[in-house]
């Protein structure tokens, strides 16, 4: 990197910092709830604004207006009692008891929150599972609780009951239930997670080609192409399974924005390496599968972010994790099963060698560049 543009970049970053504000939004009180039901366990991740918790429980013990981690942590018993009063589960006539399995802090829409990870043992045959939400309504009727990720249900003083959809009901339910739901989520994620597909695509496009002194030619036989593809996909799978597990069980945690931006950058780098595929089939001097493995590690953290949104982190169960991963693999295999025969059939045509492969790679590079700028600088301009 040359000296001058870099220092100019730094200057621009510095300027951007000077121009920023010192904001903490003044928003109405909002709680966030994610629910998972797996077999006979209900798991929840509940994020509550610390201001509301302080008002309800008087957390700020020394009343200096600054809430410390210690002041919050010491009140775990009261938090558990508050939750049992404030959002009791109903399962037929039974009232399962919430257990506080973990406590952390977060920031939601600029508001500092406590993160309560809860779990409850359900009766043998859980039927008509519902949740009655009353938290903070007595101190602030404008309080709202937003349940779910993609589809959101708003709980308010007028609408306090949340009926937990039972397994097998429509997949667009705001919570995931049962292991099939997690398989579905996995498939759904890989099919709609264009960045993961884009990454695979730039590695797979040249897999049915080989470089010769006479330029790019089609692979000699299906076996060659098939194994090239299998190696890439398997390496990618192994790598992201490892980091997905690490992240899901919170052994390792990376900032979401960093992960997302690096995923976009990985597509750019993989595309660059694919251009330089050498004559013996190596990409960037290494086998393509090494690239897939290296960057697969980062993509795993991305999958973990999705699982977090589904509320899996709250239960920390291996079952849903495996189901989700299985779904990702199935979704991936389905794409490969469609891609490979078509690409193999077209590999010797000019259309593929001079059209699909170079233009496809260029297009993906362009899109990934856009994603990277969006994610790294927190701006939005891309349509997807």
């Amino acid at each position: 990197m040359k000296q001058a543009p870099f220092s100019r970049l730094l200057l621009a970053l510095g300027l951007a910092w000077l121009l920023t504000n010192s904001a903490r939004a003044h928003t109405s009180s909002t709680a966030w709830l994610q629910l998972v039901v797996s077999n006979r366990i209900a798991g929840a991740q509940l994020e509550l604004p610390l201001r509301d918790l302080d008002e309800a429980l008087g957390l700020d013990a020394n009343d200096d207006g600054q809430l410390t981690w210690g002041e919050l942590r010491r009140r775990e018993t009261d938090l558990q009692a508050l939750v049992q009063r404030g959002l009791p589960l109903r399962c037929g006539d039974a009232v399962p008891v919430w257990k506080l399995a973990g406590l952390q802090v977060s920031e939601r829409s600029e508001v500092p929150c406590a993160v309560l990870r809860l779990s409850a043992q359900l009766p043998d045959e859980p039927t008509d599972l519902a949740l009655d939400y009353h938290l903070f309504f007595d101190q602030d009727p404008l309080h709202r609780c937003l349940v779910g990720g993609a589809v959101t249900t708003v709980l308010s003083p007028e609408h306090r009951r949340f009926e937990v959809p039972s397994p097998g009901e429509n997949g667009s339910a705001p919570i995931a239930t049962g292991w099939t739901a997690f398989v579905r989520e996995g498939v759904h994620h890989i099919w709609t997670g264009y960045d993961h597909l884009a990454f695979l695509l730039v590695l797979l496009l040249p897999a049915v080609l080989r470089r010769t002194p006479h330029g790019w030619l089609g692979a000699a036989n299906f076996r060659e192409a098939f194994f090239a593809v299998i190696k890439v996909v398997t390496a990618f799978t192994l790598a992201h399974s490892v980091t997905l597990a690490l992240a899901a069980f919170e052994t390792v945690r990376l900032p979401a924005r960093l992960v997302e931006a690096t995923i976009a950058a990985s597509i750019l780098v993989a595309a660059g390496l694919a251009w330089r595929k050498t004559q013996d089939g190596r990409i960037g001097g290494r086998q393509a599968w090494l690239t897939a493995f290296g960057f697969g590690l980062i993509h795993g953290f991305g999958f973990a972010g999705v699982l977090g949104e589904l509320g899996l982190g709250s239960v920390g169960l291996a079952g849903p994790l495996l189901s989700f991963n299985l779904g990702v693999e199935l979704g991936q295999l389905a794409c490969v099963a469609v891609f490979l025969p078509v690409a193999f059939a077209l590999r010797d045509t000019r259309f593929y060698r001079h059209g699909v492969w170079p233009l496809g790679t260029a297009l993906v590079t362009l899109v990934a560049g856009g994603w990277f700028v969006e994610r790294a600088f927190a701006v939005t301009f891309m349509p997807f």
Binding site: A16, S22, H26, T30, E110, D140, L146, V269, V379
Partner: protein
Amino acid sequence: MNRLLRPLFATCALALPASLPVHATRLPFTPPDDSAVVARLRPGGTGAAERQFRAARAALSASPTNLALALDVTRQAIRRARAEGDPRPLGHALTALGPWWTLSAPPVEILVLRATIRQSLHDFPAALADLNAAVARDPRHAAAWLTKATVHTVRGEVSEARAAAARLVMLADPLTAAVAVAQVAALDGQTAKAIPQLLRALERTPVTVTSPPEQREAAVWAGTVVAELLARSGRPAEAEKQFQTALHLAPGDPYLLGAWTDFLLDHQRAAEVLPLLREHAHVDALLLRFAEAQRAVSAGSEAASVAQLRARFDLARLRGDRLHLREEARFHLRLLGDFATARRLAEENWIIQKEPADARLLAETEPESAP
């Protein structure tokens, strides 16, 4: 090895800007130790006003149906919400009025405060119903007429607003009455007469920083209104003088800061806006102006503020709040350049609010004025 490390290094270098903080959302984490501060609960500190408010709320929760205590807590909460541009105290006010909230004929004082809260939540029809009931029972209730004049003004109902303001001339102090009359005059463009009246009323009511808070609030409100009228009548020098006087009395008043920075933005003085609003970005309407100023000073530097605003509007929509239509329309118009969405929001807003600012938004999003 080098050939493998280089792409990895390149990736890390590319991802570096991603570690710059954007405050909107932070994933759950465990703080390093017990002394780590996880939240600043009262940015203003625990001052006398905070202690007084807490004591009043504690007393009320001990006897929730005590009318005098409920009125006191509600008034304090409304004042705090207004002064800090913070919707949370409105929730406290709602709680205080809980026992009376659904009554059809509560005491007149409750009716007026209930209307004020409903007005703040942009439930104007319900606010007017309360106010009409209040003035029917107590035709000499100045606060009821004032709020009624304001709500009619917001809704662009000129004749009703004028009638309510006329009542105030007999019931309220000259300054308050003059502001109410001037606001109505601004609605149908009759500013020529309203401005000198309001200026005269301001001159006759000398207010300093040591005057009682109610007098200061009235003077700041009047100063803001007259400054806006002067600016709109093409008298920027006089407008600026009025703005400065009001700012001297209430440097942190959110409404005044919004009006003053709008004036600066309109007169290509965006650089002056940044230091004024840096500490007020928690108020959505002021973050909007801050972002506009950033963009005017250095295009592109508004990216983080735009992301913040977008997140706040998204959250409001998730919650089902409809308090931000005016700001959201302006956001799409001036910061995103999305005419179609701005137009739709401006029209939606026009159904609820019809103040000069709303009319201006509607005009600026006219299909003919698109670039």
